[in-house]
């Protein structure tokens, strides 16, 4: 299950991937060993003592005694590339430094579990929490009112003027929203001009209208039902603290990792990894952030699955999830059932939109879709010949066609309301990340 692509997919950046490939050679390693669960090796670096590198395949988790802050480091990637694709080539008893690490990991996991249980039992003071939130929203509400004025000015003067405005036109109100502690609103502002082509104003208008909906809701927060209020909170970007998630019920399932994207904005990397429950069909991304040159630490790999519990962020629907705990073992995913028809899939989207009208993208998993090239575009066609248009780079389109050959396959992606952004396809029991 550990193919080259999946291993390289874990690399924190391009240079680590390259360096790792250079280290995937027996000559670099003084000792190597593996069991079904662990890979370990000692790599001769520039120092006198070789670096001790170890990988726990179950998650996978990495540890290396080298000073690099990259994660996984090039040594771990090299060891993984060398041994991962062909587990069982070398054997041996794990040395003491490996067993010690495993013991520490088990201990940490137990402590974390204990902490979660304690937090769940701890009494929450709802009144104090509500007051904290109200204070914060005070600032945001004022900022949102200013932004509403700016938005209306833009519409009054026309988008033709906005299209030719310089970057400051968008950046000034966005920065103000950051100051007002509403990063979600800042993002919605920055996204308005982000589209090209002759129909710029059509896309920009749509996004402006979406921002308008969120702003209206922010100003009428008190009149909204609880769940919708929580949706607004997520949309404007008020962070949810771990303590707030702790008392929430968790959903137990076998979670399939069916998509992963990384966006970089203002030196902040955001990784969204889509998890879908096999029995519950709940789908939501877990998010991970890394600022500046910091690496992303997630080890979730598209095409794998694990048993565990997820907590969904509060709101009218599952828009974001956090992993509360997971079983030690990660295994190969063989895909999911998914919706049988495009119509059935879109019905769930309409439902979600009715609950959260400013919804940006929505996860759709579909079964038995056949892919076909239509000019520049790729289409997915269901058994009733209904079409779902896809948006993907040329390279990705050809990859998807090549993997499926026009035969029915499972498809997962994010639906924007007009196109599906594909994230994975599966057939013959193998999930291919895109």
């Amino acid at each position: 299950m550990w193919t080259t692509e999946r291993i390289l997919g874990l690399a924190p950046d391009e240079s680590s991937a390259k360096a790792g490939q250079g280290l995937a050679s027996p000559r670099k390693w003084v000792t190597v060993g593996q069991t079904e669960r662990i890979l370990w090796g000692e790599c001769q670096g520039s120092g006198s003592k070789p670096y001790q590198t170890q990988i726990d395949l179950s998650e996978p988790a990495f540890k290396c005694s080298c000073p690099s802050r990259k994660f996984p480091c090039k040594h771990a990637l090299g060891l993984f590339l060398m041994l991962g694709p062909k587990v069982g080539t070398v054997t041996g008893e794990p040395p003491a430094w490996v067993t010690a690490w495993l013991a520490t990991r088990a201990e940490k996991a137990a402590k974390k579990q204990e902490k979660i249980e304690k937090a769940a039992e701890a009494p929450v003071d709802p009144a104090a929490a509500a007051k904290r939130l109200a204070d914060r929203f005070g600032k945001i509400t004022a900022g949102a009112a200013d932004l509403q004025t700016w938005l209306e000015d833009m519409v009054r003067q026309g988008l033709a003027a906005a299209q030719t405005a310089d970057g400051k036109f968008w950046e000034t109100p966005a920065a103000r929203m950051v100051d007002a502690q509403a990063p979600g609103l800042a993002r919605l502002v920055r996204e308005i001009p982000e589209n090209n082509g002759p129909e710029w104003h059509v896309g920009a208008l749509r996004k402006a209208a979406r921002l308008h909906l969120v702003l209206q809701a922010t100003q009428r927060l008190d009149a909204l039902p609880d769940d919708l209020r929580r949706d607004v909170r997520q949309a404007v970007g008020v962070p949810i603290k771990e303590e707030e998630l702790a008392p929430l019920p968790a959903v137990k399932d076998r979670w399939h990792v069916l998509g992963q994207t990384v966006e970089e904005e203002e030196r902040l990397k955001t990784q969204r990894t889509w998890l879908i429950g096999e029995a519950t069909n709940h789908a939501a991304p877990v998010l991970e952030f890394a600022y500046g040159g910091q690496p992303l630490k997630s080890t979730l790999v598209v095409g794998t699955q694990f048993d565990g519990e997820l907590v969904f962020y509060p709101g009218s629907q599952a828009l974001r999830a956090a992993i509360r705990n997971r079983a030690a073992e990660t295994t190969e995913s063989h895909g999911l059932a998914g919706h049988a028809t495009v119509a059935a899939a879109l019905a769930t989207y309409a439902d979600a939109l009715a609950r959260t009208p400013w919804l940006e993208t929505f996860p759709l998993a579909l079964a038995n879709m056949r892919l076909v090239k239509d000019g520049e575009n790729l289409l997915a066609v269901d058994s009733e010949r209904r079409i779902l248009p896809l948006e993907a780079s040329d390279a990705r389109q050809w990859l998807m066609l090549s993997l499926t050959g026009g035969h029915p396959a499972g498809l997962f992606g994010e639906w924007t309301g007009t196109v599906l952004l594909p994230r994975s396809v599966w057939l013959e029991g193998v999930v291919h990340g895109l």
Binding site: T3, T4, E5, L8, K18, Q21, G22, A24, S25, R27, L81, P85, K86, L151, E152, D153, V155, R156, Q157, G158, L159, A160, A161, H201, V202, L205, A208, A209, R210, H212, L213, Q216, R220, A223, V342, A343, Y349, A350, L353, A354, R370, V372, K373, L379, V381, E384, R385, R386, I387, W398, L399, L401, S402, L403, G405, G406, H407, G417, T418, H432
Partner: protein, 511 residues
């Protein structure tokens, strides 16, 4: 109510010029009408944005998927098995990593084992094949049904399977495309290809004539002589040169007979009273009369030689090797061995080298190469490395290895220029024995020199040699290299990495 598209267009138009100038737009009614009760005092702009938002949500929620009337095309069922997971993963490493130069070997092994590559890599391979003509024939056999199907969908790829006799290409293609077409046809039907060329000969521009004539080298036969003889009188020098070169490859051609007559007076076999027969070779006179028509001109001079010596080398190079046995009593290989004593040694060796390369005569080539490699000092030969390499290319692998062995035995001499040239031109898969000797010498050398090496050794260690050493030696080489210092630019590391990659390749793609 106006149609959906109409509403969208009107809203967009209003937004573009601004509500300042266009104060009316289609406001949604019915269920979509905003409940104004909650907010009595709304601005025009706020009402407008609410209309847009309502219409947008309405449109997205009510998206009706269109229906496709045509069939969805699909690839046929495969007839070959797909490579196993290990081999597939390895291809991923080869395509994405620093070992891209082993790709041809991967493809060959894959084809030999009767397998097709994993579908994941088809687009990358098709792209590479479309860009690189040398790679294309290696890629096509391992594409499987899926790959061939995929190629039909992309014009950039479908040309890989274009008909090779294509009349269209001959009429409208570029010079290079047309030359390739001729070349392919020469391989299957040489006479038809020549007839095709003869039909257009008079009307083609000189660059085309030179390029097309050169394709006759494939499947060359006496039937080509009339056209080549005619081309000797071409207006353009490039065309004449190609013609003379090709005619010199046909031992029964009129050009070869003329050259024999030119060489005869310069070669004198002497039988002394005692001892072996000797052969004396003289320089031609300095008036060359009609020689130029047959491609024999002193200019440009062969580096290191004067004009008469240059002419001697060119003449020998364009004369059938059988000449020596018939007219000098000794065969060409013996002549090569005797040259050491001749005043015109270097010119004769260059000439014999050219002749044995042209005539692909391995026995003579071996004798010439042996004589050449034994010469330690020469003002001439070091300028002609390319010719030595062409010569080595004529030799079978075992001869090359036999020639290199004595150099390899001297473990301090990896930098020897002769060895470098020999190994560089030894493009065959090296035997296990030879590979082992090479690896041992290499590591002895690296250890002895503390990693320092001349430019040649470093270059040699690049991908060239690593692709020819028997990959079965990878584990042994890694073991020997433990603790060894590296050569400049990590050349040793790269060598070992390539060898290891090939080792894995052969293991994963066993037939």
């Amino acid at each position: 109510m106006a149609s959906k598209d109409n509403i969208a267009a009107q809203l967009a138009a209003t937004a573009l010029i601004g509500t300042e100038r266009a104060a009316t737009w289609p406001e949604p009614g019915g269920d979509l009408a905003p409940s104004n009760a909650a907010q009595p005092a709304q601005t025009t702009e706020c009402r407008f944005l609410t209309s847009v938002a309502a219409f947008d949500v309405y449109q997205r929620a009510g998206h009706m998927p269109s229906e496709r009337s045509q069939e969805v095309p699909h690839a046929n069922a495969e007839t070959m098995p797909r490579t196993a997971a290990g081999a597939a993963s390895l291809l991923g490493r080869v395509l994405n990593g620093p070992q891209a130069h082993v790709l041809p070997e991967y493809l060959q092994l894959c084809a030999r084992s009767g397998q097709r590559v994993h579908e994941r890599y088809l687009p990358d391979l098709l792209d590479l094949a479309a860009r690189d003509e040398a790679l294309a024939p290696l890629v096509t056999p391992v594409l499987g049904e899926r790959g061939r199907w995929l190629a039909t969908l992309n014009p950039a790829w479908s040309k890989l399977f274009a008909d090779s006799t294509g009349g269209d290409v001959w009429e409208t293609g570029s010079r290079a495309q047309r030359a390739r077409l001729l070349q392919r046809q020469r391989a299957s039907d040489p006479n038809a290809a020549r007839t095709r060329l003869e039909a257009v000969w008079a009307s083609e521009p000189p660059e085309e004539r030179a390029a097309f004539l050169a394709t006759l080298r494939e499947g060359l036969s006496p039937l080509d002589e009339p056209l080549l003889e005619k081309a000797l009188d071409d207006k353009r020098k490039e065309v004449r040169e190609v013609a003379a070169d090709l005619l010199a490859r046909l031992p029964l051609s009129a050009l070869c007979r003329r050259n024999i007559d030119r060489l005869k007076p310069l070669v004198k076999a002497k039988r002394p009273m005692l001892g072996k027969m000797t052969v004396q070779i003289e320089l031609p006179p300095d008036t060359f009369k009609d020689w130029a028509r047959d491609g024999l001109a002193p200019k440009p001079l062969l580096e290191g030689l004067g004009d008469r010596a240059t002419m001697l080398a060119r003449l020998i190079g364009a004369t059938p090797l059988a000449f020596w046995h018939e007219h000098a009593g000794q065969n060409a290989a013996e002549i090569a061995a005797l040259t050491a004593k001749s005043e015109w040694r270097d010119a004769i060796l260059l000439g014999l080298a050219a002749a044995s390369t042209r005539q692909e005569d391995a026995a003579t080539a071996k004798a010439v190469a042996t004589a050449w490699l034994q010469i330690e000092k020469s003002p001439v030969l070091p300028h002609h490395d390319a010719m030595l390499q062409d010569l080595i290319a004529v030799l079978p692998g075992e001869t090359r290895e036999a020639l290199a062995a004595p150099f390899l035995a001297n473990r301090k001499a990896l930098d020897a220029r002769a060895l470098y040239l020999l190994l560089k031109a030894s493009t065959h898969a090296w035997s296990h024995e030879f590979s082992r000797t090479f690896v041992r010498t290499l590591l002895d050398y690296v250890n002895a020199t503390g990693g320092y090496s001349g430019y040649d050794a470093q270059q040699l260690l690049g991908d060239q040699v690593a692709l020819r050493v028997d990959p079965a030696l990878a584990p042994a080489a890694n073991l020997l290299a433990q603790g060894a210092p590296d050569v400049r630019s990590n050349a040793l590391d790269k060598f070992l990495a390539t060898l290891q990659c090939r080792f894995d390749l052969h293991k994963e793609l066993k037939p």
